[in-house]
């Protein structure tokens, strides 16, 4: 039985019956199990050794990444709960008919009853979701992401221009998902805090990356007057534009293609 295995780790093979026997006849019960049996006088490392590893069967342990330390266990547990909560919310949103035009187009098959299909067709495998969430967390746990979300509120985000967090609940192949994550993180780099020294240095780095997505961002720059949220680090122009009216460009002037998709960003 699970709990018995665990009991061996802290104080010898003591079950309650063991104690009872000890009480009645007053003598110490002999060790039955040489592996687990530890008397306090021993003080050797065995007891510590066995108790260091988390009992696999006696409690919920993270399926992926066998972490024995409590810090990681709690973090994994927290992530698992968050993912489940996200899943509830996502399901409700999808099945609640908040599916937009975009969603209808991308969901395969006939028109009409895509909504429930979307809900059923979502990724539900916990291991996959947790892995994806971890990858998302790595991306979000950056200064770049912090700066990005402060600079660009959701309703002002332009698809293609602004990075969008991949939707972990969509069915994608492993390769496709990993690629989405990679591209997303590259896009986020545009919001990296400027390093000490010149902005040129940042520009050089961008050139070195040589990726199409990054070049796309640069191409948007001539239209600075209506995309005031373009990151300052990508251009030297922004400095000269400070104080000019482009900063005061009213939001409504911008032609943003507002989408009401469940944006996980």
């Amino acid at each position: 039985m699970n709990v018995q295995c665990y009991q061996l780790q802290y104080y010898g093979p003591s079950r309650w019956s063991h104690c009872r026997k000890r009480g009645i006849d007053g003598s110490l019960r002999t060790k039955r199990d040489p592996d687990g049996g530890e008397r306090e006088n021993d003080g050797n490392s065995d007891n510590r050794h066995t108790s260091f590893t988390t009992p696999e069967s006696a409690g919920p342990v993270s399926r992926w990444g066998r972490q024995a330390d409590w810090g990681s266990q709690v973090e994994d547990d927290e992530m698992r709960r968050d993912v489940h909560r996200d899943m509830q919310r996502y399901r409700r949103r999808i099945l609640g008919g908040e599916v937009t035009q975009r969603e209808r187009k991308t969901s395969s098959g006939s028109s009409g009853s895509c909504d429930s299909r979307e809900g059923e067709n979502m990724e539900k495998d916990e291991a996959v979701l947790l892995r994806r969430q971890k990858q998302i967390n790595y991306g979000k746990n950056t200064l770049a992401y912090d700066r990005y979300i402060k600079e660009v509120p959701k309703h002002m985000r332009q698809p293609g221009v602004h990075p969008k967090t991949p939707n972990k609940f969509r069915k994608y192949s492993r390769r496709s998902w990993d690629q989405q994550i990679k591209l997303w993180k590259v896009k986020l780099h545009a919001w990296d805090p400027p390093t000490e020294g010149s902005q040129d240095k940042v520009l050089d780095n961008i050139d070195e990356l040589g990726l199409d997505d990054v070049m796309d961002i640069e191409l948007d720059f001539p239209i600075l007057s209506d995309s005031q949220n373009v990151p300052a680090s990508l251009t030297t122009h922004s400095l000269s534009l400070e104080g000019e009216d482009c900063l005061g460009t009213p939001v409504k002037v911008q032609k943003t293609e507002t989408t009401a998709e469940p944006d996980m960003a």
């Binding site: 665990y6 009480g23 330390d69 409590w70 810090g71 266990q73 709960r81």
Partner: protein, 221 residues
């Protein structure tokens, strides 16, 4: 300001450390959180008064860090330190009963306060039970301070523990019944404490008013 720090019972620290803790509460990313968690841990092992409520200050720092920078440095360090001490608990108990009792009080207090999404931290459930089971062993029952510690923890977190693992709670109480009935050499205080906790749990983690009168009326007077 004074009131809030009283709640955390940090008066036993020297002034510099008090300052550090107060800063940690308000501006966690400006301090070395690993150091802070070690300070709190070390003090909890020495100071019984502090260990009884140290969970509260830990909770506040965890929340503050999460809010300020989405960080988990403090919590992670605290938990891993807690785990280290857990692994060495038998040795600690041999060396100093006081320190052992303080440790159990502290880990139970952490279990009580540090919740994850309002749920107890799963990682702590078995370790907490292990500690309580240790306190229910025959040799431990002979020491009033260990019995006292045991019943205190059960009063505070027994109900929560039972909810997350009823089976282990049952096993613990098998030990307590055995101890109460069969253990020779128990002091009358120890037996009183055990009887009270047996009734307490039997009453659904509540003491009936008559039982309360029996056990506590003298104190009230």
């Amino acid at each position: 300001m004074e009131n809030s720090t009283d709640d955390y019972r940090i008066q036993s620290f020297d002034l510099d450390t008090q300052m550090l803790l107060k800063t940690a509460l308000k501006d966690p990313s400006s301090v070395n959180l690993e150091k802070v968690s070690n300070i709190i841990m070390d003090q909890s092992l020495k100071d019984q008064v502090f260990s009884k409520e140290a969970g509260r200050i830990c909770y506040t720092i965890v929340q503050a860090e999460a809010k300020q920078s989405n960080g988990i440095v403090f919590r992670r360090n605290l938990l891993n330190r807690l785990q280290q001490e857990f692994n060495d608990r038998e040795e600690t108990r041999q060396r100093s009963l006081q320190e052992w009792v303080c440790y159990v009080t502290f880990i139970c207090n952490i279990f009580d306060y540090l919740k994850v999404n309002n749920m107890p931290m799963v990682a702590l459930v078995h370790p907490v039970f292990d500690c309580l089971m240790r306190l229910a062993q025959p040799d431990a029952l002979m020491n009033e301070e260990e019995v006292d510690c045991l019943v205190l923890q059960l009063h505070r977190i027994g109900e929560q523990l039972e909810k997350v693992n009823g089976q282990r709670m049952d096993e613990l109480f098998f030990l307590l019944r055995d101890g109460f009935l069969l253990q020779e050499g128990l002091t009358s205080m120890a037996r009183l404490l055990l009887l009270e906790i047996l009734e307490f749990r039997a009453g659904g983690w509540l003491l009936s008013s008559t039982a309360h009168k029996y056990y506590y009326s003298e104190i009230a007077d």
